[in-house]
């Protein structure tokens, strides 16, 4: 059995995947000869842009996909995995990006789901609960095994997922972009916790496209691009710029080339805006600000401090009260809010899939989401398909959106390209005022760079821009002025000087400007 002998029998190596190929019907090659070697007890990052094949590779390991070819060696033996049960039995655990929890069941029930016979579950839950309590104590996870999953926060649910893997005795833990759903503080806690686990000897494969995380947590990092392994490096011997270059395949402009701010007139002005959230509680309180032309005003803040409500109210999608809103010298009434589109405002919404796009529609149908009723896209009520197609093709080209055919369903595009469609559509209307909410959340570095450059270009072209983002790096990179939002109020205004980042952090935590400075 020569096949079963790993070539390099390194005692440190716990997992080796060799020449993994995986394609999907329709000619998508997700993995085209990927090699990965993971050492015992290390945190190993899998870095790559969306669509680089990271998740597919780990799904192959976890038995969710059958590879077209290639071999896996796990703990120095050839590893044939047919389904997740094989993986779990071999002590591999995986925490998916979308949690696999049953919301109406308790934590304990979720953790043993699929492992026991149902009648046994009913009888023998007590030892399970005891064990979970013990583990929760050992790892200082603070998870109550009897509470229902639906009552837990996203961060807590994630801890349940990790606990589930540990409960089944995982030696190798795979985490698929675990921080994507977490607040900055929760992310911090998670990374600390993972470090602890690794120190106790657990091996962790950490999928991400965030460079800071790689630098912060990993021992080694393997970079994937277009379904191929680029290289594996020791984290200590690399830097973010080099990683970004390997990930994207070219140099990345980490610093935006931003021109000096030119003073201009006020384009958008809000006085005393008040918004109530869905439960009727005040979410935005007496909010007043101005945005000048050729200016980006950044709204910084921890997620959930009224940013969503602010954006929705300004876009006329949520009820609000205000003393005045002025857009481009026109006083806006409550009634006008629903047609700000026509008055020169564009809006890049927080959630592209829920609000910005209609996923089963084609790329070109999405391009005309706001202009479908205007000439030349519609004449006498009939859609002009040829014009729409030509227009879409020109936008695809102009914004270098990666799509085969503009008639393709937009759901098939990667997150970054979907966001580019939204950005292209909004910017092409040459807005006077641009409302941008979380423009680069969940998209890869190449697309992030592109979207940020477009926003700056729009600013230099004269637009007034309000940028809402929970990503401080983004706020500092793009803004000319920063307003910090906490519990629906403006805590203070700060200039985007890198020295001020600590002050912004304090304001975000609810400190007043006097105590922060």
């Amino acid at each position: 059995m020569e096949d079963s002998m790993p070539k390099n029998n390194d005692p440190k190596t716990i997992l080796r995947m060799e020449e993994i190929h995986k394609s999907f019907p329709g000619g998508v090659f997700a993995n085209r000869g990927v090699n990965l070697e993971v050492h015992q007890g290390e945190i190993h990052c899998l870095l790559g842009e969306n669509g680089a094949g990271k998740t597919v590779l780990m799904s192959v390991l976890y038995g969710l996909y059958k590879p077209d070819s290639g071999s896996i060696f796990y703990k120095n033996e050839k590893f044939d995995v047919h389904n997740p049960k094989d993986a779990i039995q071999n002590r591999i655990g995986m925490v998916h990006q979308h949690f696999m929890l049953v919301e109406t069941l308790s934590v304990a029930e979720n953790i043993i789901l699929g492992q026991y016979k149902p009648w046994k579950v009913l009888n023998n839950l007590d030892p399970v609960i005891k064990k979970i309590q013990q583990m929760s104590k050992d790892y200082r996870l603070n998870v109550d095994p009897t509470s229902l999953v639906k009552d837990l926060s996203v961060g807590e649910q994630q801890r349940v997922e990790i606990l589930k893997a540990l409960y089944h005795g995982a030696d190798l833990l795979i985490l698929d972009e675990p921080t994507a759903v977490l607040t900055p503080q929760e992310s911090e806690n998670l990374l600390d916790f993972l470090r602890q686990l690794a120190d106790k000897g657990l091996t962790i494969v950490f999928i991400t496209h965030k460079l800071e995380e790689v630098m912060q947590i990993s021992d080694r990092v393997t970079i994937l691009r277009d379904g191929k392994t680029i290289t594996t490096v020791n984290t200590k011997e690399t830097n973010p710029r080099e990683l970004a270059k390997m990930m994207v395949g070219r140099d990345v402009l980490m610093d935006l080339n931003k021109k000096e701010k030119q003073p201009g007139k006020v384009i958008f002005s809000v006085k005393n805006l008040n918004v109530k959230d869905e439960r009727g509680l005040p979410a935005v309180k007496n909010f007043s600000f101005d945005v000048y032309e050729r200016e980006v005003v950044g709204i910084a803040g921890v997620s959930g401090n009224g940013q969503s409500e602010l954006a929705l109210a300004l876009a006329g999608l949520m009820d609000s009260d205000f003393d005045s809103i002025i857009l481009n010298d026109i006083s806006i009434t409550k009634r006008d809010l629903t047609r700000l589109n026509q008055l020169g405002m564009a809006h890049i919404p927080e959630d592209r899939q829920k609000m910005g796009l209609i996923l089963p529609f084609s790329v070109s149908e999405n391009f005309i989401a706001e202009t479908f009723n205007d000439r030349p896209f519609s004449k006498y009520g009939f859609l002009q398909f040829k014009t729409i197609k030509n227009y879409s093709q020109s936008l695809v080209k102009k914004f270098s959106i990666r799509v085969g055919d503009v008639d393709e369903e937009i759901a098939h595009l990667s997150g970054g390209n979907q966001q580019k469609v939204v950005v292209a559509r909004e910017l092409d209307r040459r807005p006077k005022f641009l409302l941008v909410n979380q423009p680069t959340r969940g998209i890869d570095i190449g697309a992030t760079e592109f979207v940020r450059q477009q926003i700056i270009a729009e600013r230099d072209g004269g637009a007034a821009i309000l940028l809402i983002s929970t990503d401080l790096e983004e706020i500092f990179a793009l803004s000319d002025r920063i307003l910090v939002m906490f519990e629906g109020q403006i805590m203070g205004e700060v200039s985007p000087n890198p020295d001020m980042i600590e002050q912004v952090g304090l304001l975000m935590a609810g400190k007043t400007i006097e105590s922060a400075l």
Partner: protein, 351 residues
């Protein structure tokens, strides 16, 4: 166009409208087993069914006559379903249309034909549309679920009809629970004597084509589809969602009401309590069968018409009880749904 894109298009096309029809042989196969178990000869039964539907010109025209109300209703429902409005009330809207059409046909019977026929049809369509808009209003104003309200409105429409045909509008002889015949000036032209095939069938085809064009080729249809898929995105894009809901229900109810008017003006010539043998409910399957494509409704409507027509003959000649006939119809719907789920799942997997 290269081969790959042709193949892609074909694949997309087959997925969108035609795959469900592949479910029919499966349903008939299962039906055959049931017939066998129940002690009937499936070959003989299906032969009778086929004969009943396609034996001669008369049989075929009867299929088309049965298909007519299904096409009206199904095409309208396709619009509502595209807008994600789950209108289960086509039955009531059909009745509303039939009542209004009968009233006009009787009480304004002296009007000349060229005036009366359009008036009967318009009365039926607007009455059905209003009945449908009632549910839309309740949804928009109070957030009442349209599935519940439309079902309730079905009962109301049917019982009002029952009251009318036994009370205020009962025929002069007063023997049966039915109205008098409508004026001859209101009758639709039966253009292929001696068969009963009438211009209402042509009207149904035209309506299906028009609704297809509206849904897929106009900006109005774009908004209806957008609201149906993602109302948040539609609102974000500046579309008035409530207005589209009202409009979709008006179109849907109007089409069903028109179907009711045509049934009165071309076939029954009068109103009675059971004027619809459940067309409004079959219409739901007719629309879903073709993925809510109004053009496809023409074919699925004819299919269901053939099933109904053939079933009657199967019952008479092969002595198969009508219950089994309904069972086979149910199997067709079920396997269509199963096929739909299957192709959805396999598509998901592919991605």
């Amino acid at each position: 166009m290269d081969f790959v894109s042709i193949k892609k298009r074909l694949l997309k096309f087959s997925r969108s409208a035609w795959t469900p029809f592949a479910a029919i042989p499966i349903a008939l196969g299962i039906g055959a087993i049931v017939l066998l178990i129940s002690g009937y000869d499936p070959i003989q039964a299906y032969a009778a069914m086929w004969q009943g539907a396609f034996k001669d010109r008369t049989a075929i025209t009867e299929v088309l006559i049965k298909a007519t109300p299904l096409i009206f209703i199904g095409a309208g429902l396709a619009v509502a379903f595209r807008c994600s409005i789950w209108n289960i009330g086509a039955e009531g809207q059909f009745y509303a249309g039939a009542v209004a059409a009968t009233a006009v046909g009787i009480y304004l019977g002296d009007l000349p034909r060229f005036l009366l026929v359009p008036m009967v049809l318009i009365a039926g369509a607007s009455s059905g549309a209003l009945w449908g808009m009632l549910a839309a209003f309740l949804k928009n104003r109070f957030g009442a679920n349209e599935v519940v309200t439309t079902i309730m409105l079905n009962y109301i429409a049917i019982f009002i009809t029952g009251w009318l045909v036994t009370g205020p509008m009962i025929e002069t002889a007063g023997l049966f629970a039915q109205t008098a015949k409508i004026s001859q000036n209101a009758w639709l032209w039966r253009f292929l004597p001696p068969t009963r095939l009438h211009t209402g069938f042509i009207l149904a085809l035209v309506l299906a084509i028009v609704l297809y064009i509206i849904i897929f080729k106009t900006s109005l249809g774009y908004t209806i589809r957008a609201v149906g898929i993602n109302p948040d995105a539609a609102r974000y894009a500046g579309i008035n969602v409530k207005r589209k809901v009202l409009l979709a229900m008006a179109i849907s109810g109007g089409a069903a009401g028109l179907g009711g008017a045509v049934e009165v003006a071309a076939i029954s010539y009068r109103l009675y309590q059971l004027i619809s043998p459940g067309y409004g409910f079959d219409g739901i399957a007719v629309s879903l069968l073709v993925n809510n494509n109004p053009l496809g409704v023409i074919f699925s409507g004819i299919l269901f018409g053939a099933l109904r027509s053939g079933a009657e003959v199967m019952q008479m000649n092969a002595k198969v009880p009508s219950v089994l006939v309904f069972l086979i119809q149910g199997l067709v719907v079920l396997s269509v749904v199963a096929f739909g789920v299957y192709s959805y799942v396999s598509k998901e997997k592919e991605e």
